[in-house]
């Protein structure tokens, strides 16, 4: 479609690409075919271990140590890349291919100003000391081009002085400095807030119209849907399906793609289980009217390094009723995690009042990273029984029984009790964390980004599990997330936070369909919609 007859020769042609790492049982990438034309955005989607990042890195000659790359054809911008030496790759990376990684804070040298970083990539086209001024000019130009305001000032900023979105733009600017024909972007928006993500996606779309080809690697189907023209779906190193975005998203041929699409939580998935491709309704829940957890006029400030104070919470009212799921959404720094900590009693509020149920274990926490919330010395059984050991004198035998019960409740084999959490997968670990939260039979669970670190299909299972438990045990869940799709999927009511304040709250459907606050409207607009382009 975007490849007109004028540029019929593809920029990148890959046939039969296989990448095997030393000591691995199976290849990380297995027989991949891929063509990218100029001015085209091709996306590879897949879950962890699918081989998508290895593919991206192989295309820039950075497959890594111990990687064995074989290909029937690997042509980049007319160069046979199979025979390239390290030097050859460096030349290619300097001219034909640019790479943008997920975390700009890690990818940019913290000790160098942004301008110097970009100037480094400009040395090839503008070499020598005399060209320093011209390199600087060009760096300012590039920063402006990627949409950084006041580029003439920002060129002298250090990476840590820029916000996440500006850093990512600066990183893209440095990748663009050598005017590459192909930009490889590995999860370029994953670490960003949704409004910033929208800006970066817009920037990527604009680059395409300038004639740059893009290979976009993402786990997020919605992001891909927003900008890509073609999609490859990968699993276990193999491409399961590829085609135009409209076709793959609208009429997926492979069963895995169908399951992946069904697993994406959104408005459309409300009331439907995510972890099955058929539309199975979720269990019925009946939220009550009684308030089980409430905060009134909560204020919490933190000192800033500059000597001032920052309001993490600036007068927040929140109410969680019996058996309901309350979604708290907001971008990083909005104060949603501080709210969770104050409600849990981990930090005292500077002002305001928290009303908790009687009993110390009535409010339990499920954190984003389960592994770090487990004592490294503990087995699964010890992790799960910790809340019980903390208060009541339950007998050993009784505890062993409850471990088996709890593991079954969260869909794990009771045999897991003796395992060590380190040997479990991410989804299993989060199930163990949920089992621990259930151990004391609480009335409320505070879940702080509980699925953010999980793959889509695992996330689907954990969300289904949470809804099941809420229904079967009458649990109230305070669900904190930056992901509006997830919240729309499972919450009954929603609280939108910004800069430590609640800017909007109410029934989920009400807020999502008729947002009254401009910030909520902006958030929702920025949300990439999977279904927008899913029509054939």
């Amino acid at each position: 479609m975007s490849a007109g007859p004028a540029d019929a020769t593809p920029l990148v042609t890959v046939r039969g690409l296989t990448v095997t790492f030393d000591g691995a049982a199976r290849p990380a990438v297995d027989g991949l075919d891929l063509t990218i034309h100029r001015g085209e955005i091709v996306a590879i989607v897949g879950e962890s271990g699918s081989g998508k990042s290895v593919t991206a890195r192989t295309l820039v000659g950075l497959a890594g140590e111990g990687a064995h790359v074989h290909a029937d054809e690997l042509t980049i911008d007319g160069v046979d890349a199979r025979r390239l030496s390290d030097r050859g790759w460096r030349r290619i990376r300097g001219t034909s291919v640019g790479l943008v990684l997920q975390d700009a804070l890690v990818s940019l040298d913290p000790l160098r100003r942004v301008g110097a970083e970009i100037g480094e990539s400009l040395r090839r086209t503008l070499p020598g000391l005399l060209a320093r001024g011209r390199r600087r000019e060009r760096a300012v130009e590039l920063l402006g081009q990627v949409g950084i305001p006041d580029p003439a000032d920002r060129v002298d900023a250090y990476p840590h002085e820029l916000s996440g979105g500006l850093r990512q733009r600066a990183l893209i600017a440095s990748a663009l400095a050598s005017q590459p024909a192909l930009l490889v972007a590995d999860e370029p928006t994953t670490a960003l807030d949704v409004t910033v993500q929208a800006q970066i996606l817009e920037l990527l779309a604009q680059l395409r119209s300038d004639g740059t080809a893009l290979l976009l690697i993402s786990h997020d189907l919605a992001v891909v849907a927003a900008v890509a023209s073609r999609i490859l779906v990968m699993r276990d190193g193999r491409v399961l399906e590829q085609g135009d975005v409209e076709q793959v998203l609208g009429d997926p041929q492979h069963e895995y793609t169908r399951r992946l699409l069904a697993a994406v939580p959104s408005a459309a998935s409300r009331g439907v289980r995510l972890s099955s491709a058929e539309r199975t309704p979720t269990a019925e829940r009946t939220p009550g009217e009684r308030v089980v957890l409430a905060g009134r006029g909560l204020v919490r400030t933190y000192p800033t390094p500059a000597g001032g104070t920052r309001h993490a919470l600036a007068g927040v009212d929140v109410e969680l009723r019996e058996g309901e799921v309350l979604g708290v959404v907001g971008e990083s720094g909005s104060g949603k995690s501080t709210l969770a900590r104050v409600l849990l009693g981990l930090v005292p509020p500077d002002a305001g009042e928290v009303t908790r149920p009687e009993g110390r274990l009535e409010v339990q926490l499920v954190a984003q990273d389960p592994l770090s919330s487990f004592d490294p010395r503990y087995t699964v059984a010890e992790v799960i029984t910790e809340p019980l050991r903390s208060v009541r004198g339950t007998s050993r035998g009784g505890r062993r029984e409850s471990v088996a019960e709890l593991l079954t409740a969260v869909g794990l084999d009771p045999a897991f009790a003796a395992r060590h959490p380190r040997t479990l997968s991410g989804g299993q670990r989060q199930r163990v964390a949920i089992a621990r939260a259930l151990a004391a039979d609480p009335a409320v669970i505070v879940a702080d980004e509980p699925v953010s670190a999980l793959d889509v299909s695992i996330q689907a299972q954990v969300l289904d599990l949470l809804l099941d438990l809420a229904a079967s045990r009458g649990l109230a869940i305070l669900f904190i997330s930056h992901d509006l799709g997830v919240v729309h999927h499972l919450a009954d009511r929603i609280v939108v936070m910004k800069d430590g304040e609640v800017v909007e709250h109410g029934d989920v459907e009400q807020v999502f369909h008729h947002p009254s606050h401009p910030y909520t409207q902006r958030l929702l607009q920025a949300l990439p919609d999977l279904r927008e382009r899913a029509t054939v």
Binding site: L344, G345, L346, A367, F374, P376, E386, P387, S390, V391
Partner: protein, 310 residues
């Protein structure tokens, strides 16, 4: 003593750490089965660690029961055989007073070990206490303790020990105290940073949501996790304590003659190096081998812990 006993016992029992009755009863059959199946497999601590542990075991036996290894008297002087070269009768030769060098080395192990273990224990206890104080979250306490430790650490350990002995005078007890105090900063710094790390970890925060706090939180989570590094540090520290002891004894600040201390032997025999090299070289080797073994074993334990944590 505990350190060394645990260290040399480690390769045999590492499969079943003292986790409680359940794991202890489950572990032995599986380890035995594994051993039977694959014959000479790499030991838990690696070959280097195993050799180091064996060497230290020999040193330990020498310290506990020197007469089991050698029957010659380390103090029996015999002017007729003075400065005799190594032979079947005197495997490591004799010194200027005709005393058997090997017997003196074997009997000297006791001094090195006692000083090394006692000084390391002192350093560990002092360092752990200071480290826990500094890492406990009280900012004033942290500043005071951490700065004090910085001042201590700014002197080379051996110099610090030397200064302390200058105040207290030579002798076994004073030597132990001097070397122990000089070793405190090492432990204090590591324990402090570990404590801070554990105190702000996710699992400590989670435990707070279970209503845990104060002493119970410290005992259940902070202490065991923060002190996990101590055995490794102590094993490595043992090596430097022994070398410190030998160094100070060489200067005549340790056990006094005729005690067969390795450093003192070096000093006594250094004047005869040209005619009787064995008098000084063998005690020197004893120090080197013991110290290297302690360090190698410490690193091996560290690697083993890291691997099983990964």
């Amino acid at each position: 003593m505990t350190t060394l006993v645990r260290a040399h016992g480690a390769p045999r029992t590492a499969g079943a750490p003292a986790d409680g009755a359940a794991s202890a009863s489950a572990a032995p059959p599986s380890t035995a089965a594994r051993r039977r199946r694959s014959g000479p497999r790499v030991p838990v601590l690696g070959w280097g660690g195993l050799v180091a542990a064996l060497v230290l075991a020999v040193v330990l036996v020498a310290a506990l029961a020197p007469t089991a290894l050698i029957r010659l008297d380390p103090l029996a002087a015999d002017p007729l055989t003075a400065l005799a070269p190594p032979s079947a009768e005197h495997l490591a030769g004799t010194d200027s007073l005709g005393r058997d060098v090997l017997a003196r080395i074997v009997h000297g192990a006791r001094y090195s070990l006692v000083i090394g273990v006692a000084a390391t224990a002192l350093a560990a206890v002092g360092g752990i206490l200071l480290g826990l104080l500094a890492g406990s979250g009280n900012r004033v306490l942290d500043t005071v303790v951490a700065r004090a430790v910085d001042v201590l650490a700014s002197f080379p350990e051996i110099l610090l020990a030397l200064v302390l002995i200058a105040f207290t005078g030579p002798g076994l007890g004073n030597l132990i105290v001097a070397i122990g105090v000089a070793g405190i900063p090492r432990f204090a710094r590591v324990v402090r940073s570990q404590t801070q790390l554990v105190r702000t970890s996710g699992y400590v925060e989670q435990a707070r949501t279970f209503g845990l706090g104060g002493a119970r939180l410290a005992l259940r989570h902070v202490l065991p996790n923060a002190l996990g590094v101590v055995p490794v540090l102590a094993t490595i520290g043992l090596g430097s304590a022994i070398i410190g002891a030998a160094g100070l004894s060489f200067l005549g600040l340790g056990p006094q003659p005729p005690a067969p201390e390795w450093g003192a032997m070096l000093a006594e025999n250094r004047n005869y190096l040209r005619v009787a090299w064995w008098g000084a070289v063998f005690p020197g080797l004893a120090v080197v081998i013991t110290v290297v073994s302690a360090t190698v074993l410490g690193r091996a334990i560290q690697r083993h812990l890291e691997r099983s944590a990964a």
